[in-house]
Symmetry: C2
Subunit: 592 residues, 2 copies
């Protein structure tokens, strides 16, 4: 029990010198990668650079204690940072102090929500975010983030909540662009793209092992930071208008609770919920992918607690919302991390940087950080997913396109809420018109198939309708309409059989519809039968009065139904009594 | 085409003297029944009594032109009148003139929405209202309506938006009760209950035919009106505090458009949508039940147009929202109505009453109308449905109880919106944890059953998982978690087969989950197979890359999968190569 809530008790028992070495190497590499990312994502969230470092210390320790993934690397990530900027930016706060306090409170609320969902085992709430919606949302976020960073490359002031606003604001200010800033920024972008695509093959050709070459290439952003900082400081470029990070307070963050302001919490609640869900979904899919590679397991509900405590830890140490990051987790995994201790060691690395090296980043140009962000987020943009989804399912594509467009045009929160709502509506729409077919017997077999697709035997006195969907409120009326039409168009019918092999559920609405259908068919002189009802569905029906009221029978198989009703209809035709004597209900044996 | 939008063109062709006689008799009986109802429901909606008459003339003509039910009787009904009172009451309008104007506008907006839904063939929106939610909503509405009428029985002023408020307000004013009013009201209630339960058997015993006795009993409210009006007028009870309907303008209503006030329309929009949906659902289920008794059909999308034009007609003639009424449609049917012309004749009847008889209702006590309402709505209260639903499905019961409690405590709009939201969430929750089972082969057969329920053959190298639900975004993660756990707990597994006979849909989210599962299984050295995939699902999968990437095969039947994989695993064990050479994909033939 204790181990379930504190997974560290599981892996700590087998910790040894080998694991320690692996974890230390991975931690060193992730630290180098995390420095520019944490600074850059703080900038993206509209916060001072050091807040990014604060969000990369205690959260990693908390996750190491409570998380279930061996290799997930948590910290500030691009999409959550953008959502933080949108959430806090909406509040129109008086100054940057209030802005920071709100971001810190957002991490706290988000942490509480995640822990609450974990304790209540509500991880399934994240199911509401369908893959197409998440994918479109991330693509749109990537585009907005990249656009929002262009101002730093140009060295101008321009903002906006959506893509159009951002681009228009940039267009208005483009003549104020600062040339040295642009040179640094464009240079960094080109260098980082080159590192990403060309450096690794070059290093491999120079004789390095591919994995080492790959990891070295990840240090590109740090190199860009170092070079541009040196150039800026050396050439005194700040006097020519190059904006830099500026003086950063040295030392570790103080601990404390975020402002407990009821109105602020209320205003941030929905944003915190969205950030929690998006962060959780992203994090869990990375963690699951990496765990599977080593036949390990993660526990989604405990992951909620791990990510929740990471956010609480971030908040009490003056940081902003965090979650598991895709690229840095992959690096952590590739670098050989074996346990969450690697995350704790990374935390020590970032803490040392915060204590000792912050004076070095005073002259770090914001343009370099913007370049880091742009290169990182453009890999999130995936228009191919739109194309793949279009060819697979129009309905999913619709939800995807709506999420993409609304996120770009109306902003992140409207985009994701509309996407979730639309995907629910479309699912209900799909299931409200289920596939159904009149079936007949394939000659010489006991199989029943669609009369429109196969040459099958039928009987004008017996109609068999197969519905390929669970029966529930969204399609209960469909069934009533379908059967009403069938009976009106087939005046010679005496028996209607509903064939249920694909019916996994009959809810109370559908039950009432079936009772109404039974009653209406009885009024029309037609008997109503069921066939191939599944075990669990039959178990539920036994708690209703449908089986008592049913004018017909429940048949184990459709073939049984066909044989029995054919005999009955034939004998009724001979004796001239169209209504045969009621047959006692025969129920299907409980099948699993 | 024209006949689809004007169903009157269909039945008018065969209209003859017999049909005319039947329709005239039915119209006479429904007119007598409709007079007290229309006055009473106007009172319930907080409107002058004559507005109820106006809402019972043109709407009936419009429905006769555009409706598809032969016997539905439209007009003011209890639940919609309550919803009208709630919607217009929320606006805190300055005077009763503005209140009336808002009610008239509400009918217009509701009519436009219904027609729009009909033209766009969106009748399925009504599917969102599940039977348990509607049933609980109507029970709660019945209780609120009955409670809200008690003030008229007592002759005091007391109001409130929910049951508690109403009862508290009554409690505070009970010492102001007016004795003559109470005597009239209580007398009417007792008389009407007696008529409802005892009069018919008495008449039958006196020699009348049961159907005639039944129809005569329906005239009870008119008799109560006549007697109490005579007593009140004769004994001058108005001077003793008995409140009466008062002077009613004589003559037909003038025609005109409702106020085209954008702000008002916006405020009424959600209420109009809810009223439209509730009214439509109620009306369609009555119409469908009655149509089935004569093997007739109604067309739900054309019904939307019929009810929509009835509401527009009500609005332009100064009336409030209307829909098909349950009890009066049954009376219309039982009285022998054969075509919608019966409705048009009823309209003529009510028009004559409005022209000639309104002076007679000046001294009609409001207490008598309240008694009519109370006796009518208590038949809507159905606590038995709660019990039946409890024993059938806990999930549906939860939605039902929440709707009931929230409607009583928070009012009609909150109640129904919460009920709809909750029933959606509960459905997603149910399907997000679908029934699934590991299956094995029943010895000596080709059937595969749950290994926990049956003594079946299994193979430690082959796991077969059957999922009894469509795979979509709400349960995609469930599947990933389930398979992750299976593989982690069964280290000797080499093949995983997903058995899909109950999978009616695989959406884009589930497709990505299957791709991820395939990839993760491949990383763990396990091959992933599908079996018994349905034709339409297979058709869709062919538009994806899953079939190309799949490490295993798609088998037509689970038995094929078992035989092939057993052979393969056995030969791999002999030759010592655990990974057999890839087998070309074999796909299922398209089944309907």
């Amino acid at each position: 029990m204790l181990q379930r809530y504190l997974p560290i008790l599981g892996w700590l028992k087998t910790y040894n010198r080998d694991t320690l070495t692996s974890d230390l190497v991975a931690a060193l590499i992730v630290t180098v990668m995390l420095i520019p990312q944490s600074l850059a994502y703080a900038l993206l969230a509209g916060l001072p650079a050091e807040v990014g470092l604060y969000a990369s210390i205690l959260p990693l320790v908390a996750y190491a204690l409570f998380g279930t993934s061996r290799t997930l690397a948590v910290g500030p990530v691009a999409v959550v940072s953008l959502m933080t900027a949108a959430a806090v930016g909406n509040l129109s706060l008086p100054d940057s102090e209030a802005y920071l306090a709100a971001a810190v409170a957002l991490a706290f609320i988000s942490g509480l929500l995640l822990i609450a969902m974990g304790v209540l085992r509500l991880g399934l709430i994240a199911n509401f975010l369908s893959h197409p919606v998440i994918s479109a949302f991330i693509t749109a976020s990537g585009l907005i983030i990249a656009a929002s960073q262009l101002k730093h490359l140009l060295g101008v002031d321009a903002g906006g909540d959506n893509l159009l606003q951002i681009l228009l604001a940039l267009g208005n200010r483009i003549d104020e662009a600062n040339l040295p800033t642009l040179l640094i920024g464009a240079g960094a972008v080109i260098f980082l793209f080159w590192v990403r695509s060309r450096l690794k093959p070059l290093l491999v050709r120079a004789g390095l092992r591919p994995r080492l070459a790959d990891l070295l290439a990840k240090a590109g952003p740090v190199l860009a930071m170092a070079v541009t900082t040196l150039v800026t400081a050396g050439a005194g470029l700040t006097e020519q208008g190059v904006r830099v990070v500026g003086e950063v307070p040295q030392g570790l963050p103080g601990l404390g609770l975020p402002p407990l302001d009821a109105e602020l919490w209320q205003q941030l609640f929905v944003s915190a919920l969205l950030i929690s869900l998006v962060g959780f979904v992203e994090s869990v899919s990375v963690a699951q992918t990496l765990a599977a590679k080593r036949r390990q397991r993660i526990c989604p509900n405990q992951e909620l607690i791990g990510l929740g405590s990471a956010n609480i830890a971030s908040s009490v140490s003056g940081g902003f919302p965090v979650t598991g990051g895709f690229s840095r987790s992959v690096v952590n995994f590739d670098a050989g991390a074996e346990t969450p201790a690697a995350g704790a060691f990374t935390a020590v690395g970032i803490a040392l940087v915060t204590l000792l090296l912050t004076p070095l980043i005073e002259f770090l140009p914001k343009a370099t950080l913007a370049a880091t962000i742009i290169v990182a987020v453009l890999s999130l943009v995936d228009f191919g997913a739109l194309k793949r989804t279009w060819s697979y399912s129009r309905s999913d594509f619709t939800a995807m396109l709506a999420t993409l467009v609304l996120t770009l045009v109306e902003g992140v929160e409207v985009g994701i809420i509309a996407g979730v709502g639309l995907s629910l509506l479309l699912y209900l729409y799909r299931t409200s018109k289920p596939h159904s077919a009149l079936v007949g017997k394939l000659p010489g077999s006991e199989h029943f198939r669609n009369i429109d697709r196969h040459a099958v035997e039928t009987d004008p006195r017996i109609l068999t309708l197969r519905v390929d969907e669970s029966l529930y409120f969204a399609n209960a009326r469909f069934l009533e309409d379908r059967i009403e039409a069938l009976i009106a168009n087939n005046p010679s019918v005496e028996h209607l059989v509903l064939m249920c092999p694909a019916v996994n559920l009959i809810d109370a609405s559908a039950l009432e519809s079936l009772e109404a259908i039974n009653q209406r068919l009885s009024d029309s002189g037609v008997r109503f039968h069921l066939s191939e009802v599944k075990g669990p569905v039959m178990d539920a029906l036994r708690h209703s009065s449908l089986l008592d009221e049913l004018t017909g029978q429940v048949f184990l198989s459709q073939y049984d139904a066909w044989e029995a009703l054919r005999r009955e209809a034939a004998s009724a035709a001979v004796t001239g009594t169209p209504e045969a004597t009621p047959v006692p209900h025969r129920e299907q044996s409980p099948a699993s």
